[in-house]
């Protein structure tokens, strides 16, 4: 039984003005073991989140492929312009196909 992925943490405003660029910060706890760290004693087993996706009302607005050089506990900051209220979905996928998911609604008005 593999443990579930950690619950992502999202910092996002609840409200925005029309056309405003909002800042979104995401963090998910994960060791991001590349399988090549550790040197002569032998590397820790590979365990990587390899994809992140951000959707707004179902449309992918940002996608990432996370390489070996992405830090443990992947952290991302980006800005989205909102013209109307919308539902954000944040997804992380690991190499075993496990998915971590979070959602957030931003009301524009």
């Amino acid at each position: 039984m593999t443990p579930a992925l950690a619950t992502p943490r999202i910092r996002i405003p609840r409200t925005a003005k029309p056309g405003e660029a909002i800042e979104i910060r995401t963090l998910i706890e994960h060791p991001m073991e590349s399988g090549i760290r550790g040197g002569r004693e032998g590397a820790a087993a590979r365990d990587m989140l390899t994809r992140m996706q951000v959707r707004l009302d179902g449309q992918v607005i940002l996608a990432a492929e996370l390489g070996n050089g992405t830090s443990a506990n992947p952290y991302h900051v980006f800005h989205v312009r909102l013209e109307r209220s919308g539902e954000f979905e944040f997804l992380w996928t690991d190499e075993r196909g496990r998915i971590a998911r979070a959602t957030a609604r931003v009301t524009v008005g």
Binding site: S34, A43, I61, L62, P74, H76, V77, F78
Partner: protein, 140 residues
């Protein structure tokens, strides 16, 4: 400790020449094909000294109106002296208000980081930044 100055000089002289590390050059071409790589219009911010190579903050910011007709489609981050060059690749859309991504990367030792931005018209921009790493991020 390997001498690193020749690599830095090779990278400073664009386009990336045959003297760049083969794996880095191959990784760049895998990402952007044979497109000519231009300097300017892109900023890569790294701390000059990273205390912890396991958590190095990095920001890539590309000058772009981020409209449907003119926007950044991809931002790629590569390491020049990590065991593997790939740090992260991002696919952007005009929904992003700015062509800017902030994240944290793992760096094994003192090195340059390369940021590449692919524009919607196919042009490719690049920026380099150098950081010294006090404690490498690839030690177990």
């Amino acid at each position: 400790m390997l001498p690193r100055r020749p690599l830095l000089l090779a990278l400073a002289a664009l386009p990336f020449g045959a003297r760049a590390a083969p794996s880095l050059e191959a990784a760049i071409r895998d990402l952007v094909g044979e497109a000519r790589i231009e300097a300017g219009g892109i900023a890569l911010r790294l701390p000059p000294l990273a205390e912890n190579g396991g958590q190095v903050p990095v920001t890539v910011s590309v000058e772009s109106p981020q409209t449907a007709a003119d926007h950044v489609t991809h931002i790629h981050l590569l390491a020049t002296r990590n065991p593997t060059p790939g740090l992260a690749s991002f696919r952007l859309t005009p929904a992003l208000a700015r062509a800017e991504i902030q994240t944290r990367i793992r760096l094994a030792e003192d090195q340059q980081v390369v940021a590449l931005a692919v524009l919607s018209d196919g042009r490719v921009r690049r920026a380099l930044a150098e950081t010294r790493v006090a404690t490498g991020g690839c030690i177990g």
